[in-house]
């Protein structure tokens, strides 16, 4: 098996460190993208940015490296039907790169209606762009007050959340704690793997947004849902009005409000000790640091009045979206690469249009190394990352975020990849 198994061509010609990092800012109209952009450009962080925007005039900062782009989405003639790239970005980045040494990183602001996938795919498919730049993360700014409504009427808004590595839930001061909990739950239902930050006027330490390495295979450490990882010192400003307790340690017997039995089967076997954002009166008393695998009978779900499935994790609920969902799978037994690669390549070739993002950490039989991969629609990129550590749980984990994913089909296909 090759060390790397790209389906679409990808050429790594410069070492990662020499490549210019690119952060993509998405978000529905009015969510606060421009506010975040202006913050990034004006705060004293010593970094110089080139900025690719779609409308001139909104940026209040004087920066001679602000370039307009036209959002020209091109299909590739490579038999890959969801393989679209942004032709304008290829041209603009090629031009920017001629200004050697004048900037350290690139920010791309997309329009509110943009699909992030062609932007991301540009960094994998185009050999010149991928030789000199690397995608750092897709950051989506969402409006706490209007996101719920947009998720109902604007498919773009849903895509942007599902695709994100980092979500800034902005304007939290404009909603009640209940409304905030609802919108958080919707975001987690769409994309439990994004790191979620609650902000007002996009106030956030910039290292939470920049330098994330979300597409860096070497930085795939774990595939836990984002809210289980250390996160959420969610930029409380003065008068933020948020009255919930951060950083509380829960013990066993949490007597968690929603009456679920968070017992043995959730495997409270790790101690992340994280801070997180609880809804009002969460009253939860258990350890949030758990591995939690939602299966069909996981027993932690309930339905709301509208019949939507809701998972609760000690006060953090997920509202499952009817269209976009995630599938997470884990297998203890080592995999056979001769079975796994054909399966995953066929899966993304056939279902690529509905798979927005994928990631995996894999344990192959008789292979001392962790194999990691990530994908955007049909494009997969993988590598042998590092040897498994002593004492590290050698399991294979896969995560898919997509539209109307067939969990049973994916699960049975994955299970069939176990080495004989």
């Amino acid at each position: 098996m090759p060390a790397s198994s790209p389906i679409c061509p990808r050429f790594l010609e410069a070492p990662m460190s020499d490549k210019v990092p690119v952060t993509v800012l998405t978000g529905y109209l009015g969510a606060g993208k421009t506010t975040l952009l202006n913050r990034i450009l004006s705060e004293p962080h010593g970094q110089k940015f080139a900025v690719i925007v779609n409308e001139f005039g909104e940026i209040g900062i004087d920066n001679d490296l602000v370039v307009g782009a036209d959002e020209e989405v091109f299909e590739m003639n490579n038999g890959c039907i969801c393989c679209t790239v942004r032709g304008d970005l290829i041209r603009v980045i090629d031009g920017l790169l001629r200004r050697k040494g004048r900037f350290d990183a690139i920010l791309i602001e997309t329009t509110g209606l943009a699909d992030p996938a062609p932007v991301a795919q540009t960094f994998f498919v185009d050999d010149i762009v991928s030789a000199k730049t690397r995608l750092d993360a897709v950051v989506t700014v969402a409006d706490a007050k209007w996101l719920s409504a947009r998720l109902k009427d604007a498919p773009e808004a849903k895509n942007q959340i599902a695709f994100a590595d980092v979500v800034l839930l902005n304007k939290t001061d404009l909603v009640s704690p209940d409304e905030l909990a609802e919108v958080e739950a919707r975001i987690r239902g769409l994309n439990p793997y994004a790191t979620l930050h609650l902000t007002q006027r996009c106030a956030i330490p910039l290292d939470r947004v920049l330098g994330r390495g979300a597409f860096d295979l070497d930085r795939i450490l774990t595939l836990e849902p984002g809210f289980l990882e250390a996160e959420e010192e969610h930029a409380h400003g003065e008068g933020c009005g948020c009255d919930h307790d951060h950083a509380h340690d829960h013990g066993e017997g949490c007597g968690c409000k929603n009456g679920q039995d968070h017992g043995q089967d959730h495997g409270h076997d790790q101690d992340h000790g994280h801070d997180h954002a609880h809804g009002e009166g969460c009253g939860c008393k258990h350890d949030h640091a758990h591995h939690h695998e939602h299966g069909k009978d996981c027993g932690c779900s309930e339905r709301d009045e509208a019949g939507r499935i809701i998972h609760r994790h000690g006060g953090l609920k997920h509202i499952h979206d009817e269209e976009i969902d995630s599938v997470a799978l884990e297998l203890e037994a080592p995999l056979d690469p001769e079975k796994f690669f054909p399966w995953i390549q066929n899966l993304v070739a056939v279902d690529g249009p509905s798979i927005l993002r994928s990631k995996g950490i894999l344990s192959f039989k008789d292979d001392p190394d962790r194999f990691v991969f990530q994908g955007v629609h049909m494009i997969l990129d993988g590598t042998h990352q590092r040897p498994w550590n002593d004492g590290e749980r050698r399991t294979s984990r896969l995560v898919f975020i997509g539209r109307k994913l067939d969990r049973a089909k994916i699960e049975s296909g994955f299970s069939a990849c176990v080495a004989a």
Partner: protein, 350 residues
Amino acid sequence: MTANPGTPPTPSVADRVRHLTPGDTVTACGFLGETPVLVLAEGGILFASTDERRVAAHPGGVILCAACDGSRLLTGGDDGRVVETTADGTAREVFSGKAWIDTVALGPAGARAWSAGKTVHADTGKIEPGKGAPKTFAAPSTPGGLAFAPKGVRLAVSHYGGVTLWFPNAATKPDVLDWKGSHLPVTWSPDGRFVVTAMHEPQLHGWRVADGANMRMSGYPGRVRSMSWTATGNGLATGGATALIVWPFAAKDGPMGREPAIFAAGSSRIAAVACHPTTEIAAIGFEDGLILLIRLSDGAEILVRPPGAGPVSALAWAGKGAAKGAAKGAGNASTLLYGTEDGAAGILTL
């Protein structure tokens, strides 16, 4: 040549190169009359005759595109300006706008064209600043390349989905040559019968202008960024692969159903190609900085420059423009000029 048995080393003319120190990335090169000129990324033009002279054509800007026909050098920059530089060192602004100038082209009888965003501008080259205006045309998407037909004022505009053939001075509806995908540089065959683009995918696409017949030329490992017609005009020499690929265009059907000629495999891909204007010789520059001369009749190789100093980014013979255009007769036809991304440059006189 050598007393060594076995494979003889490639004969070299590297010791006959006069080295230049542009101090910047060379994005294009050409000759203005007898004078070799280097187009530098950071807005300057180096006149590299024995007494060097620098012209700040785009002060504070970056030059994104250039075309040279032996008497004029047209450059477009991220300063939104189009500048025409002539052999006497005069740099004259012919256009100034807000958007980046993505492509430029020179045509017969003083014609010139450029594009900024989706808008293509073309004029006969006779318009003085402030008097009259160039004709404009809105391309369906941002053009990837422009090329004038060898005769008459007709401009090929490549874009997403094909090429539009536009007569800037006529009211006739432009002809559209369709082919799915993103088309970048475009070139006319010297006899005007074919239009060929290099696509975003690693392949070329050609059309017979008379009837729009399609021809797909594929098999490249990487995007083709340099194309040059051979001296007879019967072959199109291309980069993009580790070997020089020359497609045959002599027949009525062009390269349809024919194999290309393949020469001189190197250890990296070919980044720049320039065919000699009168003899069947091609100069090829690789991504590792190696430059070779290839005799197209038998594939004999001569070393011009060993690898180093980044990809070869500019190659031009005297008597032929920087990239496109074919004004014959100017300069010494046996002088080759080159430049690299990391700022090496030289002149070889044979």
